[in-house]
């Protein structure tokens, strides 16, 4: 196999917040991302799944350098992005791009679709001829399924799905090699979600992109991912090949996430309801549980889970899991 384009090593992001009064100032540390490592190859898609508060969006931003990591390395084609100066990092934006969650909020309401899509071009190629920019912009609009004659329209004149297409066009206009999609479909109607996922999949095939696709729902990433990483409270619980994961999840949390996906079939839904065991909320991130971080909600926990932190370890089939009982639990559906 070729060398990975992206290698994230032990990446951690801490947020500090101050509480207490003026005199008794206390500092609380929130470990949003806590030692994540993974590799990504060219033309590969990694799905990252977790509940809100699992640190998946923070991880996405830390890879891009939008948030400064507190520890760890982000190796992009052999270069450590976390050590780059601002201008050098800015140059890397040509190669790594991001698509945001809220399609409307991520577009400047005062700019036209054309201006939004071509802004990266103006930024990196200030000498490019206006006509060439326009041609490129129209080409991008066409490619993401927008009518090029709507180049002068404003975001509020597009529907949510179309706005997300503009966001995708903006991310692709510089021909990046890695696109990080931060919950690109969570804010869209289900009927439109499928369109966007299919579009991303097509574009990935056509352009040979590496994709990181963040979602809070395992069903959404299933159709686009080659591998899936499941995150919980800043930690990676499982990193598996797609088919293996959906056939036989290794971690109880993965299995819980799968079971919480609603099924559009009244008869199966009633049965699925009884299978669901994941209840309650995540523990407070300021005060994470000892031992396995998931043990407070895990029905399979044993004594050991409360004391020892399970390391992310490699299974026989090459997948990774952080669970003491991965071998003896059969969570397959």
């Amino acid at each position: 196999m070729s060398n990975p384009v992206l290698r994230v090593q032990d990446l951690a992001v801490n947020f500090c917040s101050h509480t207490g009064g003026f005199l008794r100032r206390k500092e609380r540390v929130l470990r949003a991302v806590n030692g994540i490592s993974f590799e990504l190859h060219a033309s590969e898609t990694l799905g990252i799944v977790g509940e809100s508060g699992s640190g998946k969006s923070t991880l996405a931003r830390a890879i891009l350098g939008l948030i400064k990591p507190s520890r760890g390395r982000v190796m992009w084609l052999g270069e450590n992005l976390t050590e780059l100066e601002e201008e050098a990092l800015r140059q890397k934006r040509k190669e790594i791009q991001i698509v945001f969650q809220d399609p409307v909020a991520s577009l400047n309401p005062r700019m036209t679709a054309g201006d939004i899509i071509s802004e990266p071009l103006w930024t990196f190629y200030p000498n490019m001829a206006g006509l060439q920019v326009e041609e490129r912009t129209r080409g991008m609009m066409k490619m993401v399924g927008l009518l090029p004659n709507q180049i002068n329209r404003y975001p509020h004149e597009f529907s949510g799905g179309q706005c997300q297409r503009i966001g995708i066009a903006r991310a692709l206009v510089l021909n990046p090699r890695l696109v990080i999609c931060d919950e690109p479909v969570s804010a869209l109607d289900v009927s439109i979600q499928a369109q966007i996922i299919n579009l991303l999949k097509d574009l990935q095939k056509k352009l040979g992109l590496a994709l990181i696709f963040v979602a809070h729902d395992l069903s959404v990433v299933k159709h686009i991912s080659d591998r899936v990483m499941v995150m919980y409270m800043g930690c990676s619980m499982e990193v598996s090949q797609r088919d293996a994961l959906y056939r036989r999840p290794l971690h109880p949390y993965t299995s819980a996430l799968m079971k919480s996906v609603p099924i559009p079939d009244p008869k199966l839904a009633a049965k699925a309801r009884q299978d669901r065991w994941l209840t309650g909320d995540m523990p407070s991130p300021y005060n994470p549980p000892r031992g396995c971080i998931f043990h407070t909600r895990c029905p399979y926990k044993v004594k050991r889970c409360e004391a020892d932190v399970p390391a992310l370890r490699r299974m026989e089939n090459g997948d990774w899991v952080a669970c003491h009982r991965a071998e003896d639990l059969d969570l397959s559906i």
């Binding site: 400047n108 005062r110 802004e119 991008m140 009518l147 004659n149 510089l174």
Partner: protein
């Protein structure tokens, strides 16, 4: 795999092959025109009767003030010894009457309007330019920069305004430019605070984050993403600042610190008129009416703009 340098930007292949879809080709013939939020706001503003009427009145007022003195047979500083302190009279040609030394009140009111409106506009524009830039920079960079910049604003704020103006007058003598400077120097502080507050909110929006992720540099982000999105608030503030500035100028003139004879302003005229209020009320009434109408109009326009630009109203 190509190295990143080989991945040339505009890949014409992509653009060309894509455009051959007949459906899109048919639709691509004519570009659809977009409706910006400004256009929407403009339409909403046009539905606001008070604002539209105020706008029309202000337009007429501007025309009168600019053209009026040229058409009038009288000069502002001409003394008509035959008609001193005469009430409004169409036969003599002094429509608004004359003051104690026989100067035509109509022409003086219009000429005073020039100064008042000019002070209002220029001082506001000065405070706009300084305040928006200052506030946007402070808000956008945040942290230490922000703290230093805003503390400076606080310090200037703490200077007593009148003391500041009198000091300027004493050092440089009375001059109209000084009035611009004095008022502008105080007004931009408010503007900077408002803009900073708005910028802090805008800085965390996803589209600004998207711009950062696209590699847009800080200056361009402030120029293209921050400032256009806070202009709405700023414009409302400007329309409410203009009358405020006019009032401040009137107040300075009223205290005798404003414009100097033979130049005049509405404030100075009201001051003159107030002294002869009992014997020659018209010297007070006409400039005061012009001043009041202007203030009202700007306030109505400001209110109308606030309603028109309020994003919550968007259907």
């Amino acid at each position: 795999m190509n190295s990143p340098a080989d991945m040339q930007i505009a890949d014409p292949q992509v653009a060309k092959t894509e455009l051959e879809d007949p459906f899109a080709a048919a639709m691509a013939g004519q570009d659809v025109r977009g409706r910006s939020l400004w256009v929407d706001a403009w339409h909403r503003l046009l539905k606001n009767k008070a604002a539209v009427i105020s706008g029309i009145i202000m337009f007429i007022m501007l025309l009168l003030v600019i053209v009026g003195p040229l058409l009038s047979p009288w000069e502002g500083d001409f003394t008509d010894w035959d008609n001193t302190a005469s009430p409004p009279n169409f036969e003599t040609g002094h429509w608004f009457g004359t003051d104690a030394v026989g100067r035509d009140i109509l022409v003086r009111t219009l000429e005073g309007g020039r100064i008042s409106l000019l002070v209002g506009l220029v001082a506001t524009l000065v405070s706009l330019a300084i305040g928006v830039t200052y506030g946007a920079v402070a808000g956008y960079y945040g942290g230490f920069t922000d703290r230093i910049m805003m503390r400076m604003v606080d310090i200037i704020y703490a200077l007593p305004f009148m003391f500041f103006v009198i000091l300027l007058m004493v050092v440089f003598g009375r001059h109209i430019v000084l009035i611009f400077v004095a008022i502008g120097a105080v007004n931009w502080l408010d503007m900077a605070r408002i803009v900073r507050g708005q910028t802090l909110g805008l800085k965390n929006t996803e589209f600004v984050e998207a711009a950062v992720a696209c590699g847009v540099d800080h200056k361009a982000i402030i120029r293209r993403h921050i400032i256009p999105n806070l202009l709405g608030v700023v414009m409302v503030y400007v329309t409410l600042t203009i009358p405020q500035v006019i009032l401040v100028e009137s107040f300075l003139s009223f205290l005798g610190l404003g414009v100097q004879e033979p130049m005049s302003s509405w404030g100075a005229l009201v001051n003159d008129g107030a002294q002869d209020m009992e014997s020659a009320p018209w010297t007070l009434v006409f400039p005061a009416t012009f001043l009041t109408v202007t203030l009202y109009c700007f306030n109505y326009i400001g209110d109308g703009m606030r309603d028109a630009l309020d994003p919550k109203d968007r259907a």
